[in-house]
Amino acid sequence: MLRLENASKIYRVGTFGGKQLRAVSDVSFTVKDGEVVSLIGESGSGKSTIGKMILRLIGITGGKITFDDRDIATLRGGALKAYYRNVQGVFQDPFSSYNPIFKADRVFEIVRDHFFPGVEDREWDEKVRRSLESVGLNPRHVLDKYPHQLSGGQLQRFLIARALLLDIRFLVADEIISMLDASTRIDVLNLLADLKERGLAVLFITHDLSLGYYISEDAAILYRGCVVEFGRTEKIYDHPAHPYTRMLMASVPRLDQKWEDVEIELRAKQEDLSTGCVYYERCCDPHRSERCRERRPRLVEIEPGHSVACDRYSTDG
């Protein structure tokens, strides 16, 4: 359904675009129908940039993103609108996703004006009511309210209901629960899982490993714009291959076991590595060699459904 082929994004930084910042470099992965893929990376890893590129909110500098084998960069006008009938996004800050001076359900009216001009009121209200209930919200409690009168969890589910109005096939969820309280987080996560049952594909972008594990079949670990590991979630969590993923697993605080004493290299600001492996500087793996500095390893499948980009496993080594 959705495929990224060596997608890259380079930002012009500094006055008159002097320096270049490589936010995303040569990212490739696919999301099949009804599948949840989690994109896990720390702040600054470029995960939100990938989300925005898929949603056509920002341009793409290199590579291609295709939806049903059509390059989304070429979509204009009507074709772009049709694309948005199939692909929608929900963002991190629920309170910033609503225009504060209008009521919350204005987001439905905008969808109606642009996608369902012909529908009469009665049929539309019924459609809205059904999609609200499908996200576990009681229409009477949430309609005709200002955004500040609803909780974060309600607002996020409100946006998912908006996406469902368009019967979308693919949802980009960019850190949608990181600003919610622990108790309401789970409802939104369960909702995403239920929608997956009903055939909705989701790209779940997060920095929290445990959330990724909870709902996604496949996971992509992102570090400074590159996918360092990709594959079935259980496989990656049970035996992480890439040194960065291993360090993540060891460092993330868990509720069931104490931290192992894995040594961590605390680096000052790293400069931009355009060639070679991005994790070279912080890599404590004994296998690290000069070759890691020159050549950027490609994703290699080390076992069915589990591939990693590290020189240790590269076949032509």
């Binding site: 930084v13 500094g14 006055t15 008159f16 002097g18 320096k19």
Partner: protein, 328 residues
């Protein structure tokens, strides 16, 4: 860092180029023909006017094609030749301006710098307590709202006419020539005070308001709360807040230059103080376009130069811009 200044310099050069072009363009756009106006004033009989017209057109080289005139204008500019003033006939425009500029600098520099210093100190002081904020601040707002010339007139009337402490016209008393003696300097200062005071008071209000808003913003900043949490005395917190609040006031100084020029022009007219303002008005009243162009150019160069100096000062004083550019 180099790129930052390069970009700034580029903007100033483009601005200068545009301003000069506008300055050259305006007389040509206006209805009527400058030579015609000039001759009409001279009230000559018909044929004398005819010959004079061809002579002057040729003298001012207005018979050449437009772009030719434009190029001549530029290379004349580079030779410092701003043409001849018709109002003060044979003296070239450049010399006329050269006489007026010292008075301008003597009036403006102290007025701006002193008011900037005093206004910022007062603004910081006013932000200290609610009571002060509600009494001192309205006064500052009223000051900035006061038209320059009105304050000038009031001061002239109060101190000049009623109390008679200060003269209200000219830069020094007519009885003496311009030689370097104590009495002359005394007289200059005596004449200088009222125009200086009226400019100082109004600028002062502007800086005070700017500082009050900025310092409240800095006192609310995270680093102020952190110092409070570590028990630092109010004095240190206020010192840091003032130091950070004064930085935007530096760029504020640059942005206000345009307005400051306006104030100076008018105040000079009220006190007939022989600076560029008084000169440009006289030139306009006598339709001496070359002098007007000369004055305008001079004002532009002054403002651009000041802006550039202030930009340099800002980068030196504020580490964030310096480090910011190098760091990321």
């Amino acid at each position: 860092m180099r790129r930052y200044f390069g970009r700034k310099l580029l903007i100033y050069l483009v601005t200068f180029f545009l301003a000069v072009t506008i300055d050259w363009l305006i007389p040509r756009l206006t209805p009527g023909d400058p030579i015609q106006n000039m001759l009409a004033r001279a009230a000559l009989n018909a044929n004398a006017a005819e010959t004079m017209y061809t002579y002057y057109t040729h003298a001012f080289r207005l018979d050449l094609p437009i772009w030719q005139q434009y190029l001549n204008f530029w290379n004349a500019l580079f030779h410092g030749d701003l043409g001849i003033s018709t109002y003060l006939f044979p003296t070239p425009v450049a010399d006329v301006i050269k006489d007026a500029v010292p008075y301008d600098i003597f009036l403006l520099l102290p007025a701006i710098l002193l008011s900037w210093w005093a206004g910022n100190k007062f603004g910081a002081f006013a932000a200290r307590t609610k009571r002060l904020d509600n009494t001192a601040l309205p006064i500052a707002y009223l000051l900035t709202a006061t038209p320059y010339m009105w304050l000038g007139i009031l001061l002239a009337w109060l101190f000049g006419i009623i109390l008679g402490w200060f003269p209200i016209a000219g830069a020094y008393s007519y009885t003496m020539g311009t030689e370097l003696s104590w009495t002359f300097v005394g007289s200059v200062l005596h004449h200088w005070f009222l125009p200086f005071a009226s400019l100082f008071i109004i600028f002062f209000g502007g800086w005070a308001i700017g500082m009050r808003n900025m310092i409240i913003y800095e006192l609310e900043a995270d680093y102020s709360h952190y110092l409070e949490a570590l028990g630092a005395p109010r004095k240190l917190i206020r010192k840091y807040a003032f130091r950070n609040a004064i930085l935007p006031q530096i760029t504020g100084l640059a942005l206000q230059l345009g307005v400051i020029v306006a104030g100076a022009l008018v105040t000079e007219v009220v006190f007939s103080y022989p600076g560029i303002g008084y000169l440009i008005l006289a030139a306009i009243q006598n339709q001496d376009y070359f002098l007007v162009q000369g004055c305008f150019l001079f004002i532009i160069m002054g403002v651009l130069l000041a802006n550039f100096l202030i930009d340099i000062a800002y980068v030196i004083v504020d580490p964030r811009t310096r480090k910011g550019m190098v760091g990321e």
